[in-house]
Each structure stands twice: as C-alpha cells, then as structure tokens.
Symmetry: none
Subunit: 414 residues, 2 copies
Amino acid sequence: MRAEIVSVGTEILLGQITDTNAVELGKAFADCGIDHTHRQTVGDNLDRLSAALQLALSRADIVVTIGGLGPTEDDLTRDGIAQALDDPLVHDPTVESHLRAIFEKRRLPWLDSQLRQAQRPACADAIPNPNGTAPGLVCRKNGKTVFAMPGPRGEFVPMLDLHVRPMLARLGGGLVIASRTIKIVGMGESLVEDKLKDLMANADPTVAPYAKTGEVHLRVTTKAPTAQEADEKMRPVELEIRRRLGAVVYGSDSDTLESVVLDLLRAKGQTLATAESCTGGWIGQKLTSVPGSSDAYLGGVVSYSNEAKSRLIGVKQETLQSFGAVSAECAEEMATGVRAALGSTFGVSVTGIAGPGGGTPDKPVGLVYIGVSGPSGSRAHRYSFPGTRESVRLRSTQTALALVRTAALGETGL
Amino acid sequence: MRAEIVSVGTEILLGQITDTNAVELGKAFADCGIDHTHRQTVGDNLDRLSAALQLALSRADIVVTIGGLGPTEDDLTRDGIAQALDDPLVHDPTVESHLRAIFEKRRLPWLDSQLRQAQRPACADAIPNPNGTAPGLVCRKNGKTVFAMPGPRGEFVPMLDLHVRPMLARLGGGLVIASRTIKIVGMGESLVEDKLKDLMANADPTVAPYAKTGEVHLRVTTKAPTAQEADEKMRPVELEIRRRLGAVVYGSDSDTLESVVLDLLRAKGQTLATAESCTGGWIGQKLTSVPGSSDAYLGGVVSYSNEAKSRLIGVKQETLQSFGAVSAECAEEMATGVRAALGSTFGVSVTGIAGPGGGTPDKPVGLVYIGVSGPSGSRAHRYSFPGTRESVRLRSTQTALALVRTAALGETGL
C-alpha cells in the first residue's frame, strides 16, 4: 500500500508558511506501515492541482491533499479532486445545514460563498471537522482513496488523529510500525547518548534521540504484525533506558512536563501557585493547557513590574533595592509570597533577564533565578541560559516545571 | 523564469525532519522574481529521484535539489542529476584535494568513500561549502540550470546566501517579487473576502487571504524591477484595503497583535494589567514575548481558582456565588480589580469554559467573558468560541488583545 501527499497553497511555495502538516502525515503513514515515496506541493491553481493529483493517483493507492478547502475563490482542492477523479461536484445538504448551524451559533452573518464548502465529488463522504467550517473528504473510486484535509493546524491535527489515522491504519493492513517516545528533562543530549550508546546501535527496536528546548526525547521504534507484539519488543528496551537514566525520565508519549507535574500534585492532594517575571505567564499557560488543571493549579501572578512584585505578593522594597529584581533573594520571596497569597502547597517563581536588552556585566542576558517554596522550606536556583529571548523564556519555564516535579517527588530538601 | 525544488531524503517523507530549507529557498525565489509553481519531495532512490528531476526539468528553467550530497551509499543526488541531464559523472581532482585537506586539518583518517563527494556531472561547477565536506553543484545544460545544495541547515543557509542567491538574482533578470501582509482581527475570512472581491480578482498586485486562529492575513504581492517600484504598486491597494476594512486592520508584515497593543499604550504613556482565568497566562506570555514590553505591561494575575480571584484582585464572594466565575459580572470585577491592584491605565480579564469538560447547558464549552476596564469605565463582552481547548484559549487571548487595542484607540465607551 503506497500513499502520496499533495500539499496545496501558494503561501507554502513562497516560503510564508512551513508545511508541518505534511510532517505529521508522513509520521502517520510510517506508523500505519504505508509506503511513502513522493510528496508534491502545488500553488492555488486548478490545472496544476488536478495534474499533480493525476500524477499521484498514477503511482499511489492513497492520496491525501492538505489545504484549499476554505470558502474563498482560491480554495480549489474540491474542484481539483473532482477533475482528477473525473467525478462530478455535487452539493451536500447535510454539510450546508451544519455550516448554517455554526454561523447561527456564532451569530455571524451567513454568506453564500460558504456554500463552496458544502460541495464534494459525488463519490466522497464528508469527514467531521469540529474545529472549523470546512469538512474533510474521503473519496473512493477505481480502487483509489483520496483524502482531503484542511490546512489550519488546529483543524488538521484533530482530524488526522480522530478520523484519518484509523482509516489509514485499516488501509495499511499488514505490519504496524509502533514507536514510543521517552521524555527526559535535566540531562543533556550528549550525556544521554553516552549512557545509551549500545542501545542506539541496535537495529530493532531502534532508539533515536531528539533534542527539544530544555528536554531530550528518545524515540523507540519497531515493526510487528500487531501493536501488542510491537509493544512486547519495545518494553524491555524502555525499562533498560529508565533503569540507566533514573529520575530524569519524566514520562513518555503524550506526557508533557506540565501534565506530569499536575498528576503528581493531584495524586498527593497538593497544589501549586506561580509567580512569573521574565516568563510572563508561560508556566501558567502550559499548566492550564492541561484539561482539569484546576484541581492542582490555583493560579498566580505575572509580577513583571516591581509594583506587581510588591503589591501582589509582598516582595520587600529592601529586597528589590539591595539585591534587585533579578536575584536569589527576590526569587525566594516571590515563591514564598505567592504560596502564602494563595495558600498552595508549593510556590514556584521565575525572575531573570531574557534579553535581548537589559543585560549588565554582573547580570548578563540569560541570568535566571528560579525559586521553589514548599512545606519544608524554600530555595532559589541560579541559571544562565543560552539563546534568544524566546529560548531563555522557554528554558526557564521548563526548568521551573522540572523543579516543581522534583519538589513534589520529595527529592529535594524542601 | 520558473524554478522548482526537488527535496531528497527518506527522513523528510517519514516526517523525521521538517524541510525548512525548502521554505528558505521558496522565499529566495520570490525575492528574485522567479516563479515557483511546484515542489517535489522524493526518498533516497535513484530511479525516483531522476524521474522527479526529469519532470521538474520538463516544466522549470531552474531546478534546485536539496540533500543527498553526502559520502554514503544513499546519497544519490549527484547520480540522479547526471542521469536526468544525460551527462556523464566525472571525478573532480580539485574537490578531492580540498576534501583531503579538510580531513588532514581535522586529523581524521581518510576514507575512500569520501571520493563520492568529488564526483560531479561533466557540465557542473562546484559551489564552495565552507561549513561541510560536500560541495554544492551548479549544472548548466540545454538552457536549464540545476543547482545541488546540501541538506544540513548549517551548510545550506550560508551556501544559499553567499553563492546561490546571487546566481538566482541574475537568472531572475533583476525583477523582484515583493509582498506585504496586512493583518486583520475581529472580522471573519469570508466577510473580508466579500468586501474585497474585486481586489482579489486583480492579476497584479494579487491579493490573497489566509486565515489564522483568531486573525485573517491578506497577502498583497507584485513583481517589479525594483523593490521601490513594487512598493509603489502595492501602496494604493493597501490603502484601499485599509479604507474598506477600517479599524479591524491592526497592522502589517512583522506586526503582531501584542506588539501593536504595546506600541499604542507606550505612545500614550498608558499601561496594562491582565487577569487571566481560562487563558492561564497566555496574554501575559504573548505581551512579554515582545522585548521592552515592561514599559507598558505591568503584569497581572492568573486567577485560575476562585481563591485567586478573591484573594489577589478582590472579586466579591457574592459575585462568585450568585453569578459564578464564568459571568459578565465576574469578568468586569476581575478587570477592575487587577487595574486597581496594579494602578494601570487599563485592565483586561478573561474567564470562560475552555473545555473539553466543565460545560453545562446554560454555560457550554466555548463560553468566554472578556472584561475591559479603563479610565472611563468598564465593560464585559460575551463570546462563544468554537474548537478545541487550545483554540478556545487562543481565540480568547487574541480577542482580549484586540479589545485592549480598541480601548487604547479610544474607540469604545471606555
């Protein structure tokens, strides 16, 4: 079984957006054991699109288009597929009433241009799109399957996971490629590689590292007739990795540092409050991205200005004057202050110089203090993070979460 | 003059790496006024590669390959180009001695496999690669130009800027394609298109919309001998767009909603404080991503729990009890409360149900109240946002920033 992607959009060719959807789809093909030998990208042009689709249909059993499903004149994917499959475009009343319902619910004026999105090749079935107006399509004709998926990432990814991936898995039939991602925080990529050299040399299961800002991910991959057999091949490898690396392994697959921290706190009936300066709310944003986070995360302050630090969580003027806002003393008072203000089990704080400006010889860009306060005391940690403003802020966010995890695990003096 | 990219690498198709080099190259074509209508991606397979190159040569004057220039068996781009151009592979002694010099300098044992990198089609000239071993290639035959560039980003980008871009500019005949992105918040894509139908039908400058979560971007593009002439062609179109759409146009090109809001406040010596519930700090995170945001953004609270709402910014218990945390009353008290707590010119608040759980018939998932408080009063706005938890949270964040912009522009009753 062979698949081919046709990405549609002039903005991709002009380099204005990066085609990350095709990356996700490529992974999905691999996971489903479907071969993937070509990818095409074409602009918003009907003739080129339908020619690209005909070429793809000539060499692949499954063709997936990405993008061009919107309501506007240059959303041509529906027309292109109809042309390439030589199948008439028909109007889908179910989709139309669904569209009208959305517009009513959102109190938006109805526009007949929306009706473009209710068109489909006669052989097509609509794929639900809970996150947007344009439905996806699955067209079956002459033994070929053509999927049409929307371009916006917030619509593409859920549609892939909920609807397209299961269909691909069925089409892939035979072998499944299974992989498991083991997630590490607090150990650099080269040290991880050094400890796992022999495992990374194995042919099956393969073990490959991926460095992410502030984290290292290890991807264990194998191929087997069933997902269960694949799991059985991967399990001993994962156990060995966890044995060698210990507590720096914080989770796997869909685990995130924030979800793991929240689970730990929830399990012990503990709570967390945040006081963020240079991260400006990023820690809170990550924690609250997890559904149900309110059980364990009470909230906190974005104490970006000194006023905010003193007025909201009672950081002392003397502290700010004698040590400055970027100091171990201030970080510790922020953590203790927000913990007291919200009555949480733990308080975590970040104050630093994210740059590009604001650095001095003794307090350079990248200098960050992270404070943790808990039942058995409080402590500030000093870091000097490399990179851009964004990378300093992200590393600070990740490290703060990692410190809360350690504290919640009861592994510090706290 | 038309160009086409052929990206080479099974790891791209498997979704193990994102093809960001093709994005850079797409921008370079546009900058040089070279049309770019197709992109192909193929795995490390000689026949498929040479077929893809023949297809590209059949419709483009310039073909650029990315990747497959290394010393290993599956680095087949040199062979593929030779096959597609029907040009013999020859050995390049200059490249060989260059390679041997590198190995000596790095004190690495010489491997004859390296000699693959000294091969080139007879018609090719080598392009220097100061950051790696494999040189690039430029092949000229039958009026076509084929560039071969290395895949590693650290080698690709310098080679593009130093050597390939100047050659592309000459080939492009000095025409530049310039484009300008006009950014809109608070008006849907179809309504925007409805107001600009005639402009979007124009052949030059072209006007194309694309939707981002919570925003619509319009790309105006034209081609001219100089960047200045291109600007002169685009300016009237942009002015007309701004005239028709009015205040929903918040900026252009590198402007972001957060940078525009901060500039507005800074210009008037005004300040902002945030009280975030369901967005959990996202507004603060975006504002503080802008260097120098501290001039205008004082900070705020992540009042995720009711305790936080009452303890940090004095939301009344009665309000929480009689109307609930997700209510216009609570949103308004949050905005007023954080404004008072930090003494800022404006306070903005968000409280809502991001889902997936927590919805009720009268307060469904997606219901969000956004409060704005300023010198001339305060007000809460009610929204019902579609989509995932992330999309509800992002739309809330964008809308809150848009409301602050409107308030700072003095366009509301505030």
